[in-house]
Assembly symmetry: C4
Homo-oligomer: 254 residues x 4
């Protein structure tokens, strides 16, 4: 399988995982940057992520428009992806979704969304809340063009996740496997924080040092990262699409 | 397939979707106005929505009674539908259900149910709470006749949803696809609002302008609307019943 | 099918429904009084309700002991059933379970469990909380003998449900179909009440008159009651075991 | 089947049950001490528990290292198990997991996790919270070596469960069947306590005497314990792997 084919197959797996893990439903999307051409990225045509197959993947430019003639409808909000790829050369994969349990944190200011559990560390120490109304006033809240997208990307800055007020979130990472993991654990961290707040008392967030230690130790190809990807693909019914990485050796006892 | 057959097939899909998405269970029902005769509407006989098939659909008049001899039991609360169709010529589809997460908002006054997330905008800026006891005193809370139904329809007025105290909700829209979408996102909006309130602080509801912008931009035949219908039908195991609309063209890059 | 066979088949369906609807898990049980001998009742041997089949049903007396030689283990807490049948000639079916969402109401006094939704009306206006420690001090909380069972039955009195502190609930009704419906909607009513309380403000409980109106209008053989039984059996994978009652006629329009 | 084969088959069942009951997901693991060699224990290689099969089981020593040449990746946190087996000769099975609903109790101090429901009694009267930062400062929160593991084991002391701040829990018991039951009911007890606290008022925890009475009456081979194991295995799709214990006789009525 060519590198390009492998990337696109992983994109299909990512779509199915995000659907199965309730990060996306009919809405929400995931994209990956072209491995050989940083000015292009891949994303599905307008279709629920759980239904995405090979032929549904389209190639877009950093203006959010298809690079080849395309007669099928596209995601209205593909500009979220285009603008983040434009602003962040380090980013190779993007998710936009409405995962339910993060929504309250975009609607009230009192409790900022920050990591409280180790698997939530990848959202980073700071999660900005972008409000489309701040710059664009009354809209339908959708990121319908590059102006909207660039304003969101500015709010995201160098962070990993931005909440979108009354709407959802956008997350960005170096690889598909990372952006999926981040996006799956984002709502879980939100739930843990929400419930901790209900229990009352001072909340022990992860320290900046802990967040940094986890980010520093993270490798997309580690057995731990792979374990989740393999498991989620299996749950989503596409375990057979997973391409096994090289066997990770364990130093035997001597 | 005739227009009438297509409408009835969509009504079956709507039944299954509402069951799969936990909007209805054994109870709750969805109806659609006759496309050629505004004084009639279609609804299932007394049967759990998930089990509804073609032969279970009956045709009722605006008095809530069957227009043909019918030996099978009918929904007791079919008068909800009849009275809304009677009062609202603009309405072509109605749902009544007990979706769990909206129930608290019909039981306490402190927090009105209003849109906080963009997918909840279709419930409208105002969601009245109808209390059957206000006019009828102690009843079994069921809408058992046209008097009950008309009182509910009066409370609904020109809005899209009315909560029914201690009971559930009634929603109304221009088409089946719209009333299903509205009814699926209604409990989700309720959950987001409930949790935002728990987090504390001022809640940022959608503005009137945002609600209007979303309502104005909405088309039942748009790829975005279709995407959800297709996905939900697929999840509900009746994706094969969906009739594909005309292909929506995307203006290619030139 | 004989009347007795039909009752036992319904008991199997009841076991499966309660499992599928998360009222019971590995623990919890449902019983039915012998239709011809009010001093006997039927219940499964010690087995998770979801796994119960015809051969697992045993016949017990009002002392909670098997009326025939029985080498298989029995439910430790069968005395809950025996004592309620002994005390309440009007009761023909009993459920004991640990449905999660009712547990908080047995652990704190501040919010009594009362009907807030119409489908919860069947729990009745008053739900006592029985604490085994009041009479028996430190125990393992299990109803291990007739003394325990009779104390619980005394607490239940003429009501439909008693919560058991730190443990679960016991519910009693005139028929299997009623006790199942009551037990399925009990946790739903608990959730609605729990969330209403979180929203803040005065809670509008069902009035005594509404509870009475619903109880008065209830018939186990009505199409509405049947609709739920048929649907739940279908969801639980035993729809084929359901024996269709006589067709309920709808008075046609004249 | 040899005793060793039976233990390993039970370990596979335990993996599947914990996955099906949402105690573990891609992460978390369960181990069992070697029945004939207390200095060794069995655990899966680095793999999501739901996917574990016979060939995935490895044998480790009390230093957390494999006792035979092993080329496959192992769980990073196997030292949790090793250190608990080292410190606690009475313990024969260990679980480490991140079950979501226990996480809040590791993040705030205001509400200690204690048994409020009878099925939660096995967590014991005292559940310590271990914070890796207390001794090791800023880490990635993982138990990566025997120093970490021994510090956790010290915090656990003679208790059955220790929460791990911002991470999860470790539980220990005399047998696999016990540690699984304990770990399944731990989050349920957490949810009941969380909701009881939301209802307000004084919480009635299980008394020390009740906890002791339940612990004293518990036998891993009782029909009640077996009932849950059999049911959970069935739900997890591996009921066929369960080896039936000897029939438990019921003293017939005389």
């Amino acid at each position: 399988m060519s590198k390009l084919d492998a990337v696109i197959q992983d994109l299909i797996i990512a779509n199915r995982i995000l659907a199965r893990e309730d990060v996306v439903d009919a809405y929400g999307h995931v994209s990956v940057r072209h491995p050989d051409n940083p000015k292009h990225f891949f994303i599905a045509r307008s279709l629920a992520p759980d239904l995405v197959e090979r032929d549904d993947i389209v190639e877009l430019g950093l203006d959010g428009e298809p690079v080849r003639q395309e007669s099928r409808a596209l995601y209205l909000e593909r500009f979220i992806h285009a603008a983040i790829y434009e602003a962040r050369p380090d980013v190779h994969a993007v998710v936009h979704a409405h995962a339910e349990d993060i929504l309250p944190f975009g609607v009230v200011d009192a409790t900022p969304l920050r990591p409280v559990i180790h698997s939530g560390s990848f959202i980073g120490a700071h999660v900005p809340v972008w409000d489309i109304a701040d710059k664009f006033g009354d809209t339908d809240l959708l990121v319908r063009n590059m102006d909207h997208g660039r304003d969101l990307a500015r709010s995201l800055g160098g962070d990993n996740v931005a909440l979108m007020r009354g709407h959802g979130f956008a997350s960005a990472a170096r690889s598909l496997i990372e952006v999926v993991r981040l996006s799956v654990y984002l709502p879980r961290n939100a739930r843990a924080l929400q419930r901790a707040k209900q229990l009352g008392g001072k909340i022990k967030y992860l320290s900046e040092g802990e967040i940094a230690a986890r980010a520093g130790g993270y490798r997309p190809s580690s057995p731990e990262t792979w374990r989740a990807w393999e498991y989620w693909a299996h749950k989503a019914g596409c375990g057979h699409l997973v391409t096994k990485p090289d066997q990770h050796e364990h130093k035997p006892k001597t």
